[in-house]
C-alpha cells in the first residue's frame, strides 16, 4: 500500500474535496466487496466511496493483490465480488447449500438460453424438438437464472429469454461470452437459427430483423 501513496495526486490528501490516495481507495473497495455476498457494480462502488475516487483503477490493483490467494476477486458482468478459490471447495463441505436438483429438461433449456440468447420459446422448442414445459421456464425464472429479454423483431414480436447476472455468478462466468465452447459452437454453425428447408419466407425474415444469426453475441457487447 505504501508505494501506492506516492501516486497520490496531492500531498494535502486530507483536503475535503481531494480523492483519497489510491492505496486507501483499494482498502475501501476491499472492505466493501468483502462485506457483501452479492456482486457490487462499479457504479455502486463509486456512489459509496468518497467523491473523486476511481474504483475501477483500485479494482485492478486489488485483483492483482488477491491473485493466487484463498479468496479471489471475480468479475460478473459489470459487477465485482469476492469468492473463495475454486480449488479449496473441498474444505467447505460445511458451507455447501444443497441446491435444488434441476431436471434434464431444465438444464437443457438453460443451456439453450445461455448459448442462443436472446432466444424465444419457439426457438428453444425447435432445438429440443419438444415443447417447453411451463414448469421448466417457471423454475428457471424463479431461480433468477433467466429473465425476459427484449422482444424479437419478428412477426408476433415474441418475447425472448436471456440469462441473468445471478446465472453468471453461480457458474463463475465473467460474462455470457465466456461460456465454455461458445466460440467452437458458433464456428461450427450450431448456434445458427437455421430455418428448415422449404419453410416459408416468413421464417427467414428472422435473420434480417434483429440479427438473429448472431444471437448471443450482441446482447452482451457493451
Amino acid at each position: 500500500m505504501s508505494e501506492d501513496e506516492t501516486n497520490s495526486p496531492s500531498p494535502e490528501a486530507d483536503s475535503l474535496f481531494e480523492a483519497p490516495p489510491m492505496g486507501e481507495q483499494e482498502r475501501m473497495v476491499e472492505a466493501i466487496l468483502f462485506a457483501s455476498a452479492e456482486p457490487v457494480s462499479v457504479k455502486e462502488l463509486t456512489e459509496r466511496m468518497p467523491h473523486g475516487a476511481d474504483p475501477a483503477e483500485a479494482l485492478v490493483h486489488l485483483r492483482k493483490r488477491y491473485e493466487g490467494r484463498g479468496v479471489n476477486l471475480c468479475r460478473i458482468g459489470d459487477a465485482w465480488a469476492m469468492r473463495t478459490a475454486t480449488d479449496l471447495g473441498f474444505l467447505m463441505q460445511r458451507e455447501t447449500v444443497e441446491t435444488r436438483k434441476l431436471s434434464r429438461a431444465a438444464i437443457e433449456t438453460l443451456a439453450i438460453i445461455a448459448y442462443h440468447q436472446p432466444v424465444t420459446r419457439a426457438e428453444i422448442e425447435e432445438i429440443r424438438g419438444v415443447s417447453v414445459s411451463r414448469g421448466t421456464v417457471d423454475q428457471l425464472l424463479e431461480m433468477e437464472w433467466i429473465r425476459f429479454g427484449r422482444r424479437k423483431m419478428t412477426p408476433g414480436r415474441p418475447v425472448t429469454f436471456v440469462v441473468t447476472s445471478e446465472f453468471l455468478d453461480h457458474f463463475g462466468l465473467e460474462n455470457a461470452r465466456d461460456l465454455p465452447g461458445l466460440k467452437e459452437l458458433r464456428a461450427a454453425g450450431l448456434l445458427e437459427n437455421r430455418p428448415p428447408p422449404g419453410a416459408l419466407d416468413l421464417v427467414s425474415e428472422e435473420n434480417d430483423g434483429d440479427a438473429a444469426v448472431e444471437g448471443q453475441s450482441e446482447l452482451f457487447e457493451d
Binding site: 452479492e38 469468492r83 471447495g89 441446491t99 443451456a111 432445438i127 424438438g129 450450431l190
Partner: protein, 263 residues
C-alpha cells in the same frame, strides 16, 4: 365454475413438471428428436454423416414397438413418424423434377443438423453443470451483516412480481362475472329495518309472508331472498323480545305476533 381463479397457482412447480412429464415421457425419452438422437448413436458416426434413411427405419420401428407396448404416444411422436416415412420415400425414389420444394437430401441434411445441434447443446449443458459453482465449489462471504449505522428502507420488486401482479388483476377482470349479483338480494339489515317499522301493527298472529317487501313476492329468486331475510330478522326480533313466533306443524305457515310487554 371456478370460485378460486388462482387454484392452479397452488400447484407447485414440481407438481406441474411431474404432470407434464407424464405426457412427454415416452419410455424415458424427451420427444422424438431425443429418440432419434439416441438411435443415431448406434451408428457411431459423425452426426453430419449419419444415414438418415437408417435412422428413419429405426425410428419407425421404435414407434411400432411403442405401439405394441400400448404406450400412449404423444402427437409429436406420430407427426415425426409420418414425416420420416415421407422423408424415407423421398430418399428412396428418384427425384421428381416437376415437384417443388426441398429435396430429400436437403431435408435429411437439416435433420442431421438438428440432431447435431441438440447433441451440441446437451454437451454444452453438461459442461455448464460441470463447472465450479457458487455455493458448491466456491463461496460467497459468509457473514455479511457488518455494520448497523443507518437504516434506510428501500422498496423493491422483481419483474416477476410485476408480471404476477398484472396477471392477478387481469385474471380477476376475466372472472368478474363471479362477483355476486346483488340485485336480487334482500339483506337481513333491510328486513330488520322494515320489520321494526311494521311490527307495531301486529297485535294478532300474522303470516310472515305478509311482511315481505312490495315487489319481491313474484320473482322466485327475489322472493326466496326476501323470505330468508325476513325470517332471519324475525328470529332476531324474537330474541330481542319484541315478537313472538310460531309454526303449528312442519311446513305450516310461520306466524308472528307482537309480544305483549305486560304479560
Amino acid at each position: 365454475m371456478a370460485e378460486i381463479p388462482f387454484e392452479e397457482d397452488t400447484m407447485s412447480v414440481a407438481d406441474r413438471m411431474a404432470a407434464e412429464a407424464l405426457i412427454v415421457d415416452v419410455d424415458g425419452f424427451e420427444g422424438p428428436l431425443d429418440v432419434l438422437l439416441t438411435l443415431s448413436r448406434t451408428q457411431k458416426v459423425d452426426l453430419r454423416k449419419i444415414s438418415v434413411l437408417d435412422l428413419a427405419k429405426q425410428y419407425l420401428a421404435f414407434v411400432e414397438r411403442a405401439k405394441a407396448l400400448r404406450l400412449e404416444l404423444a402427437a409429436d411422436y406420430l407427426v415425426m413418424a409420418a414425416w420420416l416415412a415421407f422423408l424415407k420415400s423421398r430418399l428412396l425414389l428418384p427425384p421428381d423434377p416437376t415437384e417443388d420444394g426441398p429435396s430429400g437430401e436437403e431435408l435429411a441434411a437439416h435433420l442431421a443438423f438438428q440432431l447435431e445441434r441438440l447433441q451440441a447443446m446437451r454437451d454444452a449443458a453438461a459442461r455448464l453443470m460441470g463447472r465450479d459453482r457458487l455455493g458448491r465449489d466456491f463461496f460467497a462471504r459468509g457473514q455479511t451483516h457488518e455494520v448497523t449505522r443507518t437504516r434506510k428502507i428501500q422498496y423493491t420488486a422483481t419483474l416477476l412480481d410485476l408480471m404476477q401482479g398484472y396477471a392477478r388483476i387481469r385474471t380477476r377482470d376475466d372472472f368478474r362475472p363471479f362477483v355476486m349479483d346483488r340485485d336480487a338480494v334482500f339483506t337481513m339489515e333491510q328486513a330488520l329495518e322494515r320489520m321494526r317499522g311494521l311490527m307495531g301493527y301486529a297485535g294478532e298472529w300474522t303470516d310472515i309472508a305478509s311482511y315481505l317487501p312490495e315487489g319481491w313476492e313474484l320473482d322466485p329468486v327475489r322472493r326466496r331472498s326476501a323470505t330468508a331475510a325476513t325470517f332471519a330478522a324475525s328470529l332476531e326480533l324474537v330474541k330481542e323480545g319484541h315478537l313472538e313466533i310460531r309454526q303449528s306443524e312442519t311446513f305450516a305457515p310461520i306466524q308472528l305476533r307482537k309480544k305483549d310487554r305486560h304479560s
